[in-house]
Symmetry: C2
Subunit: 333 residues, 2 copies
């Protein structure tokens, strides 16, 4: 099966190993007739290039490393899936390592993958700071998903969080809501803060009030939503709608509502952010901002491929969210 070597193929085809290599790699011109001979020989022997030998000789692993905070998160899954599927079509491999959202572990993952001589690194991390990344970029091509680093704009696949939160807030306002609270994510998170900006902008534009009490910083987890609602309730701010930092936090809002006898959207409206799979299956179905995860993953993988294997300069892309109207927001009179 996978036993035939390039030498045997070359013998069968009556050419040199170098020529066989030329047809497999498509790197140098080969006369059409000899190409056919080689192809036939490859077919007959079921030849599969030995990738270890290829790597050793070419100094390329044909493998990309990918680090994600949590491989089991509802947000990361689709991104991994998109990257893997795209690269597989291009005959490149992906080694995925989890970073668990911790700086130490994520740096270890980087080392681990570098030791494996990956040709590039796709990073969907939370614990790696700008300085570290800028340094890293000098050693290996990196591609950032969902993280903006000054000076690395060209290797960045980014979501317009500001715009997304703005549109979400607008939707609430358009439905007649005036008292809107925002459960933001961790205060140190870039995307969380950008969403806060969009929220404020929409509110101010509409002449609505935003005080410190209207924004609580908890986390992008279910528990964050629960705690956020608790804080809001305790603070006594009036509200008819809540904007959750992401869908998971929105589920936390649902849970808090259930625990405290509130009904969504009758007692108050909720809108999320990300559009994870489950958003479509909770009751009421969650209105949210669609995050084009799969498109982003695909674009990222393509960009990495083109730069690394095609010498094309990378170029950052900014994606936009789309509003997905479902059943968790109702009109306010």
């Amino acid at each position: 099966m996978s036993k035939a070597s390039i030498l045997e193929v070359s013998k069968l085809a009556g050419v040199s190993p170098a020529t066989v290599s030329r047809v497999t790699s498509n790197a140098a011109p080969v006369r059409e007739t000899t190409r056919k001979k080689v192809l036939a020989a490859m077919e007959e022997l079921g030849y599969q290039p030995n990738s270890a030998a290829q790597s050793l000789s070419s100094k390329r692993s044909n493998t990309l490393g990918m680090i994600v905070s949590h491989v089991d998160g509802p947000f990361y899954g689709p991104v991994m899936s998109g990257v893997e599927a795209t690269l597989r079509k291009l005959n490149k491999h992906v080694i995925i390592a989890s970073g668990f959202g911790e700086e130490q572990a994520e740096k270890e993952a980087v080392d681990f993958l570098m030791a494996r001589q990956v040709d590039g690194l796709i990073l969907l991390t939370e614990g790696l700071d700008s300085e570290y990344l800028k340094d890293l970029e000098k050693r290996i091509p990196i591609y950032l998903i969902n993280q903006h680093v000054d000076g690395l704009e060209n290797r960045n696949m980014y979501l317009d969080n500001d715009d997304g939160a703005y549109k979400a807030t607008r939707h609430l306002i358009d439905q007649g809501h005036k008292d809107i609270v925002y459960i933001a994510g961790q205060i140190y998170k870039q995307d969380a803060n950008e969403r806060v900006v969009g929220f404020k902008r929409a509110m101010q534009e509409a002449g609505l009030i935003v005080t410190d009490k209207h924004i609580v910083h908890t986390s992008f987890e279910v528990e964050g939503g629960v705690i956020g609602m608790q804080q809001i309730a305790e603070s006594g701010v009036p509200y008819t709608a809540v904007l959750a930092g992401n869908d998971e936090a929105a589920f936390g809002v649902y849970e808090w509502a259930a625990r405290n006898g509130f009904s969504i959207p009758d007692d108050f409206s909720v809108i999320g952010f990300d559009d994870i799979l489950m958003a479509n299956y909770v009751s009421p179905r969650l209105s949210t901002m669609h995050f084009p995860k799969y498109d982003m993953a695909k674009a990222c993988a393509t960009m990495a491929y083109q730069e690394i294997y095609g010498k094309k300069a990378p170029e950052g892309i900014k994606f936009k969210t789309d509003l997905v109207v479902r059943d968790s927001v109702t009109k306010q009179h």
Copy 2:
């Protein structure tokens, strides 16, 4: 950084390359004093073995392939995570490919990974039949998660589905339910059918009635739960509790209930299977059978490691579920 070769290390340490190799691979005895010299030299040069060269020379890639149906599913994430984390600690790599639950794609994934010369294959698939797997096993060590194949029992990490469904049903019965319906998964799925057996056993043991109307075969997806409930409602069977084939289907039951004005668990009880993350966050929190995904993944990775790199004979393991009581089941009087 990663530029130093084994030759340079050997020179700095004043030994032969072979000796350096011996300390890195731990394969042959090395005098303690020389080992220290070598270690020091490695440290000083920041030596990292070139894995391509290692693979080429040793005929081993130190990489395992893993195929999962859906990398973005709530069930698969934790398993992937467990496998990856375990193997990383052991300094082995994992290349993950998705099979999308389709035979064709899953076979392609196998070929893809074989071409990459992985040392073994961890399979969490749905589209590969017994014959194919038995053939495959002759070519490469394989490890099956959640799939039983006659003759490959020793390479199988399996869940006692029968027992799990039995315990779930017992729980319902213990709470006083007598009219219990079961929304089973796809009729061609092994685990789905084993769960049916456990369900029937518990019912019969308790002298309760199970007709064809009590069991509907739909799918292990949210939509499967919705459709299942529809069929049950249309068939007119009386019921006070429903056993869902898995948690996702249980969420479908929730959705159907919400759409049709039923309240869980007041109008009827629901119990799931798998204990995926979200089960803890829906309202009401879903009672379910805990599937030890992480443990299973860890055990599988360990077994693969031991057989492939440690020459230890593999041995299948059967895992048991645990009942997790939350809020979706109530007493029936």
